[in-house]
């Protein structure tokens, strides 16, 4: 058994926010069929939102570009999905929420409490939704205030998801910690864009969006490494993990657990595969516990 901010998990692999996280049934599927040991929901807000026009996701050689635009059915609409995930997934369910200001974050968190999420993840890091996400998440004062406000109204752990689209991610991580965050999650997508050269049109409906998948892993590893060195609270790693080796690398950089997003596209059971791979690695290297990997590279000087 592995304990992360009080949540009991069999293994430290978690479904990342926004991937197959819109319905209770799909979250259950990722847990039961995929072997995810905890699942994070799609980011939920105050009002129903359709999101940006399509194309909202495209696959590149090195990953994915997306500009979903935070589509969500509002907390009222999502409550029934959260309840299904809680009832049938058999794993901790973390509610990802977003808002434009402190009051909106509090409203959504309180609105989802009846669904009994095991934790909240504050999305202060979406790179392509005006007024939300990264617009909030690049301001340390706001991040601290939002974290503190949500901590005040909920009685479960609060994770804060950080954007890499800032000059110093540790200052935002420190703000979250000061606000009382139980963990930080790094990283959300990196700003990116692709253009259709036949027509000159930017491909994404929102013109630009966020990069995820294989291409962002080195960026994520560096962010996690720096956050681990700076913060006392756990750092949850996410960004470009697509095999057990990637997960081990992230843990050595300092990740207390690893989220997987884009790679779920290829195979839903990637979580089981990573868990098995880590177990075999621990055995081969004679590590007594997966916790021995966390931050290991910091000692190698």
């Amino acid at each position: 058994m592995y304990v992360l901010t009080g949540l009991k998990m069999k293994n430290p692999t978690i479904l990342a926010a926004g991937i197959l996280g819109t319905t209770g049934a799909s979250l259950c599927r990722v847990a039961l069929e995929g072997g995810a040991n905890a699942v994070v929901t799609k980011s939920i807000g105050c009002m129903p939102k359709k999101g940006h026009p399509n194309p909202s996701i495209i696959q590149l050689d090195c990953g994915f570009l997306n500009a979903m635009g935070l589509p969500n059915p509002s907390y009222q609409g999502f409550l029934q999905e959260l309840k299904i995930a809680k009832k049938d997934s058999g794993v901790p369910v973390i509610a990802s929420i977003f808002g434009g200001n402190v009051v909106e974050f509090m409203e959504v968190a309180e609105g989802l409490l009846p669904g009994k999420p095991d934790a909240f993840e504050l999305n202060v890091s979406c790179p392509h939704s005006e007024g939300y996400g990264a617009a909030v998440g690049s301001n340390p004062c706001l991040v601290e205030a939002i974290t503190a406000a949500v901590k005040d109204v909920v009685n479960v752990p609060v994770w804060v998801k950080l954007t890499p689209n800032v000059s110093d991610i540790t200052s935002i991580g420190t703000a979250a910690e000061s606000g009382g965050a139980d963990a930080v999650v790094a990283i959300n997508t990196l700003k990116g864009m692709a253009i259709d050269i036949e027509s000159g049109y930017p491909i994404l409906g929102n013109r630009s969006g966020g990069l995820s998948g294989k291409a962002v892993k080195p960026v994520a590893v560096k962010c996690i490494y720096d956050l681990y060195a700076t913060l006392k609270i756990p750092v949850i790693g996410v960004g470009g993990v697509s095999c057990w080796q990637d997960a081990v690398e992230m843990m050595m950089a300092g990740a207390a657990a690893v989220q997987v997003g884009s790679a779920v596209y290829e195979r839903i059971d990637i979580f089981s595969e990573i868990n098995t791979g880590i177990k075999a690695f621990l055995q081969r290297k004679s590590y007594s516990d997966v916790k021995k990997l966390i931050g290991l590279s910091h000692e190698m000087v």
């Binding site: 259950c28 999101g51 026009p53 495209i58 589509p71 491909i203 596209y265």
Partner: protein
């Protein structure tokens, strides 16, 4: 994949509100029932079944499809695909029944032709609101026998595809393939289930697609959590038992709306 550039070679008018766009790409590996994401540049990107390896057939319903209707031969749009799971092809000597309502005939017409090509016996029930909205009648006729139903009785029997279906001996068929409006499909589903041949049937579902490749989750159905864009759009009747099919779907925001 990035959207491929598809240049329109020819446009044919199938009815006053349905057009086929032939383009210069050939999806040789296409399974009938698979779809492509059609990107009207500067407008939106929407899913469309392939009506041939080099065509889509579009019913004008809203903004994106209206913009597609403004395109002329020589113009182009973006295409990603083919994606998803198509209809399972029959083998030689098998007898199949196709049930196509309205523009549901688009992905089923290449299925009829592929089935005919392998030597199976093809029967089609083709339904539409009126005679002038029947699509691909000739293509289905080329593959085998065709029963027609129109809501207004302007051709074939007056009524719905289910009125034809009621009169057929379903035990004679090895496979049944269905595509059309969900209300039509669900009445077919009930009838086929009552006749205890649901395991022979495959339905092509329509849900709101964003990514089209199985990553975002906007098209997932209850209670299985299947992605219509990836495990579907074609599902066996058995997969749809105890599901949301015929009851509700989700809109672009993920809110449930009644069918």
């Amino acid at each position: 994949m990035l959207p491929l550039n598809a240049t329109i070679l020819q446009i044919t008018e199938e009815s006053h509100s349905v057009r086929t766009f032939f383009f210069d790409l050939h999806f040789e590996t296409m399974e009938p029932g698979q779809f492509v994401m059609v990107w009207g540049r500067g407008v939106n990107e929407v899913p469309m079944g392939l009506s041939r390896i080099n065509s889509i057939t579009v019913l004008k319903v809203g903004e994106t499809t209206s913009k597609l209707f403004e395109l002329k031969e020589g113009d182009s749009f973006g295409l990603r695909g083919p994606f998803g799971r198509g209809f399972s092809l029959p083998s030689e000597n098998e007898k199949i029944l196709i049930i196509a309502g309205g523009v549901g005939a688009a992905p089923l017409s290449p299925y009829a032709e592929a089935a005919y090509a392998v030597g199976s016996e093809v029967h089609t029930i083709l339904g539409a609101r009126s005679a002038d909205e029947l699509i691909f009648e000739k293509r289905f006729l080329g593959a085998g026998k065709v029963y027609i139903s129109t809501d207004d009785g302007s051709k074939g029997i007056k009524g719905f595809v289910t009125d034809v279906l009621k009169g057929l001996d379903l035990s004679a068929y090895d496979k049944i393939a269905i595509c059309g409006k969900e209300l039509m499909m669900v009445s077919v589903f009930r009838l086929i289930k009552d006749r205890k041949v649901l395991e022979k049937a495959e339905f092509s579902l329509h849900r709101y697609f964003k990514c089209g490749i199985g990553i975002c989750g906007s098209c997932c159905i209850d209670r299985s959590g299947f992605r219509v864009c990836k495990e579907g759009p074609v599902f066996s009747g058995m997969q749809l038992l105890d599901s949301e099919f015929g009851r509700y779907e989700r809109d672009a925001s993920g809110r449930r709306v009644q069918i």
